[in-house]
C-alpha cells in the first residue's frame, strides 16, 4: 500500500537514494547529502512549526508500506524569493497602432520581473520509475492540495509551480539559444547549475533589463515560450486540473511556464470536504456509497500528515474507511478526515 506522508528526519537515506534516480533537469533535488540534510532539517522544522511560515518547506514522501521503500517525493515552499531574488520573464502585450495608417499591431513582450516574490511554491516532485503506473502520479502530485486545503492559513495568497521548459531533440533549449546565450556567453546547463547553487547576482549583471519584443526572437525560441518539456506534459495537466493556470510567467533561461493560482480558488479549497470516519463494521460497508470514483483522503494532523487513495466516497459527512486505510492514515473511526475526488467532476450546468 502507498501512503504520502510528512517527511521525517529518518528519511534522509531513502531520500538520497530517490534523488540519485532523478538525473539532470531538476535543480532542487540533487543527490548531495549536505544539501539534502539541510533541506530535511528545514522540512522537519516546518511540520513542527518551529520556523516562520514563509521560511517553511513542507516535504512529503510516498512510502510503499509493504517494503518501507520511498517511492516518490514532493514539496511545498512557504514562500519564494525572500532571500534571493526570484526572476521570471513575464509575457505582456503592447499594442502599436496608428489610426492614420490603419495599422494595429499587437506584440507579445518579455519583461524581466520579480513579480512572483513571496508566492508559495509547489516543487520537487519526483516519482520513482518503478512506481509510474495507475494513479500513483496523481496521488503524489495532488496530495499537496489536500494539505493546503487543510492548512490554508500557512500559505500566501498565491501559489506557483515552475515547469521544466521545452527542449529540442538534442537536449538544447531553443529559447536559451535564441536569447540568453547572447548575454551569458555560456552553455545552458552551466547557467542552470549556477542558479541551482543560488549564485544569482550574475543575472542582475548580465540579463537585459529592457522589455523585449518576442518577435525579435527566432521562430523556434518564440514557440518554446510557455511550453513544457515533453516529459513534463502529464505533470502540467494534473496541476491545471487542480485550478492552476499559465498566466504568462516563464523561466528566464528555458521559458518553461510557471503555473499559478490563488490558493482560495484551488479545486481542493472549493471542493474538498471534511468527513467523519465511520466505524469499521459490516453494516457501515454495506451502507456506504459505491462509486467508481477514487478519493484522496488525508488526516488533519499537521506533524503527522498522511494521505491515501481510497475507493470509498464521503456521504452525508461520513466516510467508510477500512481498518487498513485507517492505519495508513493514523486515524480512527469517529475522527475527521479531509476528502477530495481524485478527478475533476464535470459541471453539468455549463
Amino acid at each position: 500500500m502507498l501512503v504520502v506522508r510528512a517527511i521525517k528526519a529518518s528519511d534522509l537515506d531513502g531520500l538520497f537514494n530517490l534523488a540519485s534516480q532523478v538525473g539532470t533537469g531538476m535543480t532542487t533535488l540533487k543527490p548531495d547529502m549536505k544539501m539534502m540534510g539541510d533541506r530535511l532539517a528545514i522540512a522537519v522544522a516546518s511540520f513542527n512549526e518551529t520556523i516562520p511560515p514563509e521560511e517553511r518547506d513542507y516535504m512529503f514522501v510516498m512510502e510503499d508500506t509493504a517494503t518501507g521503500r520511498l517511492a516518490g517525493v514532493c514539496a511545498i515552499k512557504g514562500a519564494v524569493g525572500l532571500t534571493e531574488p526570484f526572476y521570471n520573464y513575464r509575457i505582456g502585450t503592447l499594442v502599436h497602432s496608428s489610426r492614420e495608417l490603419n495599422v494595429f499591431t499587437r506584440m507579445d513582450t518579455l519583461y524581466l520581473s520579480n513579480d512572483l516574490t513571496g508566492c508559495s511554491e509547489l516543487c520537487s516532485l519526483f516519482l520513482h520509475p518503478d512506481y509510474r503506473q495507475g494513479n500513483n502520479g496523481k496521488l503524489l502530485s495532488k496530495s499537496r492540495f489536500l494539505f493546503i486545503a487543510q492548512f490554508p492559513h500557512l500559505f500566501e495568497q498565491k501559489i506557483i509551480a515552475e515547469m521544466r521548459g521545452y527542449q529540442a531533440q538534442d537536449g538544447s533549449s531553443p529559447f536559451y539559444e535564441g536569447l540568453g546565450r547572447y548575454f551569458f556567453k555560456m552553455d545552458f546547463h552551466h547557467v542552470d547549475d549556477l542558479t541551482a547553487l543560488g549564485k544569482k547576482s550574475f543575472i542582475a549583471e548580465l540579463m537585459p533589463r529592457q522589455p523585449l519584443y518576442v518577435d525579435y526572437l527566432p521562430q523556434d525560441a518564440r514557440e518554446a515560450i510557455g511550453k513544457v518539456h515533453q516529459a513534463t506534459v502529464p505533470a502540467r495537466r494534473l496541476l491545471e486540473q487542480e485550478g492552476m493556470h499559465y498566466e504568462g510567467y516563464v523561466d528566464i533561461f528555458d521559458a518553461g511556464p510557471v503555473l499559478q493560482a490563488r490558493v482560495s480558488e484551488l479545486r481542493a479549497m472549493r471542493d474538498s470536504e471534511l468527513a467523519v470516519v465511520e466505524r469499521d463494521t459490516d453494516t457501515a460497508h454495506a451502507c456506504a456509497l459505491h462509486t467508481s470514483e477514487p478519493y484522496l483522503v488525508s488526516n488533519t494532523v499537521m506533524q503527522d500528515f498522511r494521505m491515501i487513495l481510497t475507493d470509498a466516497s464521503p456521504s452525508n459527512g461520513n466516510i467508510d474507511l477500512s481498518k487498513e486505510e485507517q492505519a495508513l492514515l493514523h486515524c480512527h473511526s469517529g475522527e475527521t478526515v479531509r476528502t477530495l475526488s481524485l478527478n475533476v467532476r464535470k459541471n453539468q450546468n455549463v
Binding site: 497602432s97 495608417l101 547572447y182 556567453k185 519584443y213 525579435y216
Partner: protein, 343 residues
C-alpha cells in the same frame, strides 16, 4: 562653369526631368510635379523669410551649367529637423556587461529610439548629374548649403546632420526594415516610405516604432550587416560629407538602418576654415600659380551664389582675384567681400 544658387520658379520643369531619374531611398528629391512645386515655393518663401528661431524653413539650391543653362544638381537644407514634430533616429548604444563572479566581460550593442536630432539642421536632397560627380563642383554643391549657413547662422542650428540612404536589395527591400520596422508597420519597406513620405517626425512613428532598446545581437545577420551601411548611390555624398567633418556611427536611420552623419558646426571645415576675402580683379585665365581650388560664395539670401575657382592659396592674402565673368556670376564687384573655403 557652374554656379550654385537658390532654386527659382523657372527651374520647376528642369527639376521634374531630374526627378524622372530613378534613385533609391527617400532622402532625395520630390518626385511629382505637385511636390516639386511645393518644394520650390517653400524654398523661395524660406529665403525671403525673416527668421528669429530656425523653424520650418527649407532651403533648396540648384547647380546650373552656365554654358547650356542646364540644371545639373540639387541640394537642400532644412532649418530644424523637428520643427514639425520630433525627429526620430536610432542611437547606437553600447552596454557594458560585466560579471565579476563569473569573470565575464563583454559589451552588447543596442539601438534606442531617440529624438536627439530634433532641432538640428538637416541636409538632404543632394543630387548631381553623373557628368559632374567627379568634378570639384560636386563638393561645391554639397558645401554650398553650409556656406549659406556660414552667411546666415541665425537661420540654422549649431548642429547638422544628414541621413543617407541605407543598403537595399535588388527589389528595393531592406533587410533592416524586415527585421524591425516591418514587425510594427506590417508593410513593405517601400510602401512604408511612400506612406510616410520619407519623414521621420510623424506621430505615427511614436505610435508604431519600438520604445525599448533593440539588442543588436538579436537581429538577424543580414539586418546587422547593413546597419550603418550606405546605398552605393550615396557614396559620393558620404565621401564629401566625411571629408567636410561629418561623423557617422552614433545614429542610424530607423527605417533602413542607413547612416546618419552628424557634426557640431565647430568641427565642419566650411565653418572653421572659411575666410572672408575682398574681391580684386584678375585676368580671365587662371594664373600659373593656381594650385588650389576654392569655393567662393556671396549673398545675402536670394542673391546667394557659389562657384569654384582655381587660384593661389588665399591663406596669407587679403584679397581674392576673380575674373570679370566670375564677378558677374556672383554679382559682386571689386572691393566687395566674398566667403572663400578651400575644396
Amino acid at each position: 562653369m557652374y554656379v550654385v544658387r537658390p532654386v527659382e520658379t523657372a527651374d520647376i520643369a528642369a527639376l521634374e526631368s531630374l526627378a524622372a531619374v530613378s534613385m533609391p531611398g527617400v532622402h532625395t528629391l520630390p518626385k511629382t510635379r505637385e511636390k516639386i512645386e511645393q518644394a520650390v515655393e517653400g524654398s523661395i518663401a524660406s529665403f525671403a523669410a525673416h527668421v528669429d528661431i530656425p523653424s520650418e524653413e527649407s532651403y533648396m539650391f540648384v547647380m546650373e551649367s552656365l554654358a547650356d543653362k542646364k540644371i545639373v544638381g540639387t541640394a537642400a537644407i532644412h532649418a530644424s529637423a523637428g520643427s514639425n514634430g520630433t525627429y526620430f533616429s536610432f542611437r547606437n548604444d553600447v552596454i557594458q556587461q560585466v560579471s565579476r563572479d563569473l569573470n565575464i566581460s563583454h559589451s552588447v550593442h543596442a539601438l534606442t529610439l531617440c529624438s536627439e536630432l530634433t532641432a538640428y539642421s538637416q541636409l538632404s536632397g543632394f543630387y548631381v548629374d553623373a557628368a559632374v560627380a567627379q568634378r570639384p563642383e560636386a563638393a561645391l554643391l554639397s558645401r554650398s548649403r553650409l556656406l549659406y549657413a556660414v552667411q546666415a547662422p541665425h537661420r540654422f542650428g549649431d548642429r547638422f546632420f544628414v541621413p543617407l540612404a541605407g543598403l537595399t536589395d535588388e527589389n528595393g527591400g531592406s533587410p533592416f526594415w524586415d527585421a524591425l520596422g516591418r514587425k510594427f508597420f506590417k508593410m513593405d519597406f517601400l510602401d512604408a516610405e511612400r506612406v510616410i513620405g520619407g519623414a521621420r517626425n510623424r506621430t505615427l512613428i511614436v505610435e508604431l516604432m519600438p520604445h525599448y532598446p533593440v539588442y543588436v545581437p538579436l537581429l538577424p545577420g543580414d539586418a546587422q550587416a547593413v546597419m550603418g551601411q550606405i546605398h552605393p548611390s550615396g557614396e559620393l555624398a558620404f565621401n564629401l560629407l566625411t571629408s567636410e567633418g561629418f561623423e557617422a556611427d552614433e545614429y542610424i536611420d530607423i527605417f533602413d538602418g542607413g547612416p546618419i552623419l552628424q557634426a557640431h558646426k565647430h568641427t565642419l571645415r566650411t565653418f572653421t576654415a572659411s575666410m572672408p576675402r575682398r574681391v580684386a580683379a584678375a585676368s580671365g585665365t587662371p594664373a600659373s600659380d593656381a594650385v588650389a581650388t576654392y569655393a567662393v560664395s556671396t549673398g545675402p539670401d536670394q542673391r546667394f551664389r557659389a562657384v569654384t575657382i582655381n587660384c593661389a592659396p588665399l591663406e596669407s592674402s587679403e584679397t581674392v582675384c576673380l575674373p570679370k565673368q566670375v564677378q558677374d556670376v556672383l554679382g559682386v564687384s571689386e572691393g566687395d567681400t566674398v566667403t572663400c573655403v578651400r575644396i
